[in-house]
């Protein structure tokens, strides 16, 4: 278990914000996080931050204050926010700083991500294979074949996301959609339809962390980081944007990061009260329920039918609407999940508050080219 606490959180609304740069949104998140715990930028002993498309995070010091603090830029794909958080934890645990800030923000062009081929002349993109959406369609299609998940269950995940998003004032898409509307929307990459996919978006999140034994100096409601783990793919895992995959099978970086995080925290999946799981698309949420250890492969079909993952269910999943309702500003997405869990553990999640005083909360982020980050928080 780590000796680090989260004492302040700040977010810039997710969505599309014409005329507001990604950096602007990061700066707003920083100011809100500082205000949340009554601190000044000059109190920060270190900063870690990143974005994929919105510039080097450290350049924001010209806006928030040239205090001379060490500022580390993190560029780690979809795990940028999770990695920033893990680095902040390491910095505090190593004794290099007692109070610091982790920042993630982004702003992407509209439509699917434009991706260059893996190497050499771009035969891969040229041939029409460089689309992350294809991977998600192919992974869930194989999974449905192996584990008996049906297409109506994919629609259930989408409808839940938009129902939860409608309760979240920071979410991008706040209009509830029925299972039929999700299922009948434009087919993008079989079996996944338009409303089963998240879109690249914009937003920013910042959080202030400190040594656990000093947390009460900054807030009367500290949230403790029991674990933060990042893992990359091993040989045999099936990952996004791979021209070929091995015949051997590995369970993938999500399972590895999840196991490491549970080990660090000294608890198991049965102890988790609320979870935010990477839902790049509806199928990903389903597969990640099992990969993170919350059920066996195939059990999701019955769990969704039971409503187990609803806000009032046995294991509420993606209570803020997830990537589906919030969009995916790559640099900020992993920290958004942590932000939501801090609200849930503080009891500040408003209309979407999980009942019965949740005590343990779990986040999982996944992205190209096969990287996963997991955190476990507790009150």
């Amino acid at each position: 278990m780590s000796d680090v606490a989260i004492v302040g959180i700040g977010m810039h609304e997710f969505g599309r914000h014409d005329g507001i740069s990604g950096m602007d949104q990061g700066v707003t998140a920083v100011r809100r996080a500082l205000a949340d715990c009554g601190q000044q930028w000059s109190d920060m002993e270190f900063a870690v931050g990143g974005s994929m498309d919105a510039g080097a995070a450290d350049t924001m010091v010209s806006r928030v204050g040239l205090t001379g603090l060490p500022f580390t830029n993190v560029v780690n794909g979809c795990a940028t926010g999770g990695t920033a958080l893990a680095q902040a934890v390491n910095t505090i645990e190593s004794g290099a700083g007692d109070l610091g800030i982790a920042i993630g923000f982004d702003k992407h062009e509209k439509g699917a991500f434009r991706i260059k081929g893996p190497r050499g002349k771009d035969w891969y993109g040229g041939s029409g294979l460089a689309l992350t959406t294809q991977f998600f369609g192919m992974k869930i299609n194989r999974y449905m074949h192996e584990h008996g998940i049906t297409r109506p269950t994919l629609a259930k995940v989408g409808a839940k996301a938009f129902r939860n998003g409608a309760l979240n004032p920071m979410a991008w898409r706040r209009k509830p959609l029925s299972e039929e509307e999700v299922a009948d929307s434009l087919m993008l990459s079989y079996p996944l339809t338009q409303y089963m996919f998240c879109s690249p978006g914009e937003g920013g999140v910042a959080m202030i962390l400190c040594r656990a034994d000093k947390a009460k100096q900054y807030t009367d409601r500290p949230i403790y980081l029991k674990a933060a783990a990042v893992r990359t793919r091993k040989f045999g895992s099936f990952e996004v944007l791979a021209p070929s995959i091995a015949l051997e099978h590995d369970a993938g970086p999500t399972s590895a990061a999840s196991k490491a995080a549970f080990e660090q925290a000294g608890i198991g999946p049965e102890d988790v009260d609320v979870a935010q799981l990477q839902d790049t698309e509806a199928g990903a949420e389903i597969m990640h329920m099992a990969e993170n250890g919350f059920c066996e492969h195939g059990e999701q079909e019955q769990m969704l039918a039971n409503g187990d993952t609803e806000i009032n269910g046995r294991l509420p999943v993606n209570t803020d609407g997830g990537c589906l309702a919030n969009g995916e500003p790559i640099g900020a997405s992993g920290l958004r999940q942590v932000y939501e869990n801090v609200l849930q553990l503080r009891g500040d999640a408003g209309e979407r508050q999980v009942p019965n005083d949740p005590k343990v909360a779990y986040t999982h982020v996944y992205g190209a080219p096969g990287i996963s980050g997991v955190t476990i928080l507790s009150r």
């Binding site: 439509g111 699917a112 434009r114 991706i115 260059k116 081929g117 190497r119 050499g120 002349k121 771009d122 035969w123 891969y124 993109g125 040229g126 041939s127 029409g128 294979l129 460089a130 689309l131 294809q134 369609g137 192919m138 992974k139 299609n141 194989r142 074949h145 434009l186 087919m187 993008l188 990459s189 079989y190 079996p191 996944l192 040989f235 791979a242 021209p243 070929s244 995959i245 091995a246 015949l247 051997e248």
Partner: protein
Amino acid sequence: MTTPIANPVAVADGIFTLNDGQPVLLGSRCTNCDNHMFPRQHGCPRCMFNEQVDVELATRGTLWTWTVQAFPPKAPPYLGPVGDDFEPFGVGYVELPGQLRVEARLTESDPEKLQIGMEMEIVPFVLGTDEDGNDVVTYAFAPVTQNGDQS
């Protein structure tokens, strides 16, 4: 059988050769652990050994998973038709026995006609024409019908 393509140029060098009009994928095999790789590379991610030999990959296999690309990819990098000329296309991983699973376009794009486990064979696929009027060719996999021909 495949219709001959008048002036084929491969989408890139080193990915496949055209053997009598049929693409043959160019892979590597690790001399230490027999792991197969595509495209060719040095350094084996399985055993970390750094000695590989060039191999040609199998031209037949079975469909391991698939999807249908229903919206036009961004161009660039995509070299095929976009806008009103775009047609949905299948994409899948084809398992080449004893070697690996290779990602490929599929000639079939109807979900009703694609099944995991079905037999597939490699074929050339014309993406478009270059400025010199040559046909830019990539590889694709086509379902194999009962009598052994591509459907």
